[in-house]
């Protein structure tokens, strides 16, 4: 039997501070996004959707990379908390992917004239969303913990391949979506400095929100493990 004591104690200690930091960062990022950052020369004010669209997409990447790392951790060590982190991060990653798609769609209408178009970045992101919904559904197919966690871990390792595919799809194929402006292979960010600062603050705020949600969701999952274990034992 493996222990779950260490991560739970850590999670409980850190969580309130994460919550306070997340609320503060979200307030600052909203002020900077809507009031402080200058309007774009081409798009005017509607580009401000970028400050919720891009962080949502990046946090979806991060969440699925965490699923990958936790899946490797489970297969390597068989410690149950790795599986709790994997399922928690996958659930939050699906949420952030959905938010990136919705905010992107709302941004696409005034800039491209359509809510949706079948171009590489949108299609690969939609595929990523469907694949991780499938990952969450797969977890319900077995009641045996070890079998379920191991199957999910294999899938969590395989599915991460789509993360670089989504990010690089705009470079590999002809795309309507704009090219990367910050995470570029050649040169630094191609954004105005105040816009870049606002974007980085927004990413920091979303990262803190992700960390808080992850801590809360992992806590729920660990309690569920303990409850199921207690029922089985007697």
């Amino acid at each position: 039997m493996t222990t779950t004591t260490f991560p739970r104690a850590l999670v409980l200690r850190v969580r309130p501070w994460l919550g306070i930091a997340a609320i503060a960062a979200a307030s600052i990022s909203t002020y900077m996004s809507l009031l402080w950052a200058p309007p774009d020369a081409m798009q005017g004010d509607v580009y401000r959707i970028m400050y919720v669209h891009v962080p949502s997409a990046w946090l979806a990447y991060l969440a699925f990379i965490v699923v990958f790392l936790a899946s490797v951790g489970w297969l390597w060590t068989r410690q149950r908390w790795f599986d709790a982190v994997a399922v928690a991060s996958a659930e939050i990653g699906v949420l952030f992917t959905a938010l990136a798609l919705v905010a992107g769609s709302i941004w696409a209408k005034p800039t491209w004239g359509v809510w949706w178009t079948w171009e590489p970045r949108l299609v690969t992101t939609a595929v990523m969303f469907v694949m991780y919904v499938g990952y969450l559904l797969l977890r319900n197919l077995s009641t045996d913990f070890v079998r379920r966690a191991s199957r999910a871990a294999v899938l969590g390792i395989v599915l991460v391949v789509d993360v670089p595919v989504v990010h690089l799809s705009v470079l590999w194929m002809n795309s309507l979506h704009q090219l990367p402006t910050v995470l570029r292979a050649s040169g630094g960010p191609s954004l105005d400095s105040s816009m870049l600062a606002t974007l980085l603050v927004s990413v920091a705020a979303f990262t803190l929100i992700y960390a808080y949600l992850l801590a809360a969701r992992v806590g729920i999952e660990l309690r569920r493990h303990e409850r199921i274990g207690a029922l089985r034992d007697g």
Binding site: L34, V46, I49, S56, L99, V102, I106
Partner: protein, 32 residues
Amino acid sequence: MDEVFIAAAYIAVWGALVAYLVSLWQRTRRPS
């Protein structure tokens, strides 16, 4: 017209995050 799209995007994103947070609190209090 831009304001409508900006408001829609921000309400969708922040609204969904708050809704998920509330769902986590409910699951913490009443585990399924």
